[in-house]
């Protein structure tokens, strides 16, 4: 950490988030607001079959309708474009925006109709006649593992996309040595972050400039690159307009198939084309589902509750195509032991194709499901040893003085003080009083319990899970950038090179630069050039922007501050270390000579003869920053993943009416340590929003397929999002353990709350029902399942677990 928190002027103060101003007036600029002259509209015809061969497509009736311009099939698109990229080395698993030859999940996009309006396009999709020949299908991941399951991609040979076992440390020896063992299974149901704005993209092709212009609701690293590759055009013929506001993403808006589809049509038709997914297209075939994962876990421990070794088999149901989803098994490797000093780990990562919709990167990239498994293990160790759950955690936590701490899989955790966060939370709650409240609820006839969860938020986002899971991938660069210009009148304009979906990046950057240059952040303008005018960025993923964009902005500002200082020192005839920079001006403390900001600006822009030898004119600086760690390739299945590790500790008091089975959160407290907080409003919002997502994943949200392979939960009537009524008032207890790797000691917080809430809420439910001898091992935990399990237990019947 470079800066001293005691001297912060702007960092960590409750400045307003400047982006809010345009949004409260309804003046955001979302992709549906982009109106291009002559723009045409797309609607999609999906397949209704989980798997089927496409026998024929007859678009003649559709094309005859007034206002209909084109009907695009998968064959035509596949001939004109390259398949979408896979993350793993699975070349025979080919993915195209529209199905080619066969469809592989119910809801897969088969035909795209282009018309003067969205309504006309929808009318026309009903007139397209597709003849299918249904094929055998598989939707269950364990069945997909079996060699005789119908392969979703016959050319690939099986449904196994990934099956890799890592052994870090002497696992078998530790298991043999340990006096106690236990094994269990938990299942994370298929859900996703489902933003309120669906994915949308508009594209326009200018043949005179050889330029493809793209506007999209996008959160994707290397988006222009992937568009260029697919369309087989040079990357500098793609111009992505990054000033489009994104209406929520939380990982999933990767929209590459939608973009390739629309870009091809724009090029083909010579007119701008726009696709805004309607909610049905989005839910069924937008390919933005999240992990669906079975964990089989074994832990080896002793009677003191110390967990020595752990084995995890994670089986993920990727859906019909590979995409990036399998990497969501890899990222958790960077925190595979959670906050605990587990000495050895065996991790088997399996990803299978099935005839379900495709997964996309969801907030945390697999960490939240993994935390659910790890925290369940710790609770079970507590139950087995008779120790308090918090005591087991305290005994296994990495201690403050042990950082940096190297975990078996090769990542070093930068810093942390887990014991203090826990102490602070317990002091805030008055835990004894909470236990009394629990007992009072129990005495009144309710089931009641307390759930706790402790977990890490790895942040800083490199992509070292890519070369770890795919040896052909040698990517170690994960950069971000910032550029600052002080213009001839002394005003500051900053460019950032990514899209945002509510993270407040403009505020982040202006705060950081204001801090370094010691000028009012509100006077700093932040703009987003289009992608051709941008420096490299890898987008807000992996909870990286506070670290990376904050870091790049810091260093660019430092460079500028140095230049300003040098110019002034040169006027004074002094060495740089003899002058003092303060609040944008520079002074000579001995003689009291001062040069103000505007004095230095004038020299920099107008008085070349006064500049030091060799200095460029103007006042501009740029910084392109590499992620602080993770710049090496894996060795022996070990690699350093993310640089920084935030910590969170959840405590949930819950009551359940034993007849109704409805869980009610009585109190929710989260201890949160993300190092130095650059903007408290933003971090608070991320944490509360993350808890809401977690509550949905734990109790409400699931993409459910029936046995015929059809998605039952297609709309918001069945896919249940938490409203203001479902969310308890969440109390945040803050702690700050700075990171040594970052300029202000900041760590990421983009995934906070979400990473531990499902584990904590599930633990609370299980603590409520433990006295009946039942437990729930699958998320989401539905009211009916709770009610039925309680009723069965009260009648002495064995518990039937939900499917």
């Amino acid at each position: 950490m470079t800066a001293d928190p005691a001297t912060f002027r702007f960092v960590s103060t409750n400045r307003r988030v400047r982006e809010d101003r345009r949004f409260v007036a309804g003046r955001g600029y979302y992709v549906a607001d982009v109106a291009l002259e002559g723009m045409l509209h797309v609607a999609i015809l999906p397949s209704q079959h989980p798997a089927a061969r496409i026998v024929s497509i007859d678009a003649s009736a559709a094309l005859a309708m007034p206002g209909v311009h084109y009907v695009l099939t998968g064959d035509e698109l596949a001939a004109a474009t390259d398949p979408l990229m896979n993350g793993l080395d699975t070349p025979k698993v080919q993915r195209h925006p529209l199905a080619v030859g066969q469809t592989r999940y119910a809801g897969e996009w088969v035909v795209a109709v282009v018309a003067d309006s969205r309504a006309l396009a929808e009318d026309a999709t009903e007139k397209v006649r597709v003849v299918y020949e249904p094929l055998p299908f598989v939707i269950n991941a364990e069945q997909a593992l079996l060699p005789d399951s119908p392969p979703v991609h016959p050319a690939h040979g099986s449904n196994v996309l990934l099956d890799r076992t890592f052994v870090w440390g002497e696992v078998e020896k530790h298991f043999a040595e340990s006096p106690r063992q236990l094994a269990f299974r938990v299942t994370w149901g298929r859900n996703s972050t489902v933003p309120i704005e669906t994915f949308g993209v508009a594209a326009s092709w200018d043949p005179w400039r050889d330029m493809l212009d793209v506007w999209a609701s996008i959160q994707m690293p290397k988006y222009p690159d992937q568009i260029a590759r697919a369309l087989r055009i040079p990357a500098n013929c793609v111009r992505v307009h990054q000033d489009v506001d994104v209406g929520g993403s939380y990982g999933v808006k990767r929209g590459i198939k939608q973009t390739v589809l629309v870009a091809h049509l724009a090029r083909r038709l010579g007119r701008p084309v726009r696709l805004i997914e309607d909610r049905l297209e989005n839910m069924r075939g937008g390919d933005a589902h999240g992990p669906e994962r079975i964990f089989d876990v074994e832990v080896a421990f002793n009677n003191d509750g110390i967990v020595k070794s752990m084995k995890i088999r994670a089986l993920d149901n990727a859906g019909a195509y590979a995409g990036r989803a399998p990497f969501q098994l890899g990222k958790p490797i960077g925190a595979i032991v959670g906050p605990y000093k587990i000495e050895s780990v065996q991790y088997r990562a399996q990803s299978v194709t099935t005839n379900k919709a495709v997964q996309e990167a969801v907030r945390g990239f697999g960490q939240s499901p993994t935390n659910y498994a790890i925290e369940t293990a710790i609770d079970k160790v507590a139950a087995a040893t008779g120790l308090e759950r918090i005591e087991v955690r305290r005994r296994n936590f990495i201690r403050k003085e042990e950082f940096p701490y190297l975990i078996p899989s090769g990542s070093s955790y930068d810093s942390g003080d887990y014991h203090t966060v826990v102490d602070k939370v317990f002091a805030h709650i008055d835990f004894a009083a909470m236990e009394q409240e629990r007992d009072r609820l129990r005495a009144s006839g309710m089931l009641a319990g307390i759930g706790i969860a402790a977990c890490l938020e790895p942040s800083g986002g490199n992509s070292s899970f890519e070369p770890l899971l795919n040896e052909k991938n040698t990517t170690t660069t994960w950069m971000d950038s910032c550029r600052i210009n002080i213009d001839g009148l002394g005003f500051v304009t900053v460019t950032i090179h990514n899209t945002s979906s509510g993270q407040g990046h403009e505020t982040l950057v202006s705060t950081v630069i204001g801090e370094v240059l010691q000028i009012d952040p509100d006077l700093i303008r932040v703009v987003r050039p289009d992608s051709l005018a941008c420096l490299p960025s890898n987008s807000p993923v992996g909870s990286r922007m506070a670290i990376m964009l904050g870091g790049a902005a810091f260093h660019a500002a430092q460079k500028l501050k140095t230049k300003l200082t040098r110019i002034a020192a040169h006027q004074f005839g002094l060495a740089e270390d003899k002058v003092v920079y303060a609040s944008g001006g520079v002074g000579d403390p001995k003689s009291n000579r001062q040069l103000s900001w505007i004095d230095i600006v004038n020299i920099g822009h107008r008085n070349f003869h006064l500049l030091p030898e060799g200095m460029e004119p103007g006042l501009e600086s740029t910084h392109v920053m590499q992620v602080p760690t993770g710049d090496r390739l894996p060795e022996n299945g070990r690699v350093q993943m993310y640089p920084c590790h935030s910590f969170e500790f959840h405590v949930v008091l819950m009551a359940i009416d034993p007849v109704l089975g409805k869980p009610e959160i009585k109190r929710y407290v989260i201890g949160h340590d993300c190092g130095t907080v650059i903007n408290p409003h933003i971090v608070k919002g991320m944490t509360l929003g993350g808890v809401a997502h977690g509550l949905g994943a734990a109790l409400l949200e699931e993409f459910v397929y029936d046995d015929e392979g059809h998605l039952i939960t297609q709309s918001f009537m069945d896919y249940l999002l938490p409203s203001s009524r479902e969310m308890p008032k969440v109390e945040i207890v803050h702690h700050c353990t700075p990171s040594p790797h970052t300029v202000f000691g900041q760590k990421g917080s983009g995934e906070s709350g979400y990473l531990g809430a499902p584990a904590a809420i599930s633990a609370a439910v299980n603590d409520c029902v433990a006295s009946l001898g039942i437990s729930f091992n699958k998320l989401p935990i539905r009211i009916s399942a709770i009610g039925d399990a309680i009723a069965d237990a009260q009648q002495g019947k064995p518990q039937q677990q939900a499917k």
């Binding site: 509360l688 929003g689 409203s723």
Partner: protein
């Protein structure tokens, strides 16, 4: 079909198909992009507008049904270009939003609440926004924004409703009763420079 709508106090006319929702008409025919489409089946509330001052899902109304009402969209709330109303400013003060997509609908729902009472309980606020889904904030800072706005409106020197819409006792006016022209105790005249 031709339809006459009164939007944000202005009479507007347009030609459209009966099947066009009020939401789509506002956006496409009148270029009022502040009202957003989230689900088009009446669950998420991003399309919320006020019809005669009451929150309504504009995706569940056809434009041809919307004549004869006072329609208020988010664009109708700001007092002047570049200025924010008290409630809008409160959302900025507490950061009651992130991506901004649900925000116009959320603000209108809260605005309608504050037209009926200036002493909403937390539960009143939760109920008023229960039909607006937010995926970013977890609602905490949104509720704080409405509480903050209510507090400011209670001391504001503006016309207030005669009846509390939830049949509760109206708050006493909280603006200071002492004249504002009298000097505060402790004010001293500034010494003249010699």
């Amino acid at each position: 079909m031709k339809v006459n709508l009164r939007i944000n106090g202005v009479n507007r006319t347009t030609e459209l198909e009966p099947r066009k929702t009020l939401l789509d008409a506002l956006r496409e025919n009148f270029l009022l992009n502040g009202t957003h489409a989230g689900c088009e089946h009446g669950v998420c509330g991003a399309c919320t507008v006020l019809i005669d001052g009451e929150p309504v899902r504009s995706c569940l109304m056809f434009a041809v049904q919307a004549d004869g009402y006072e329609i208020t969209t988010i664009e109708g709330l700001a007092p002047a270009p570049g200025e924010l109303g008290v409630l809008q400013d409160a959302f900025c003060e507490t950061h009651g939003l992130q991506c901004g997509y649900c925000t116009p609908g959320m603000i209108l729902a809260a605005h309608a609440l504050l037209q009926t009472t200036l002493t909403p309980t937390r539960d009143d606020i939760v109920e008023a926004i229960s039909g607006n889904i937010c995926r970013c904030t977890g609602y905490g800072q949104i509720i704080e924004a409405v509480e903050f706005a209510a507090a400011r409106l209670r001391v504001a020197n503006t016309p207030r409703p005669q009846h509390d819409g939830l049949n509760r006792e109206l708050p006493k006016h909280a603006a200071p009763t002492e004249g504002l022209l009298e000097a505060e105790k402790g004010d001293q005249p500034v010494a003249e420079a010699k």
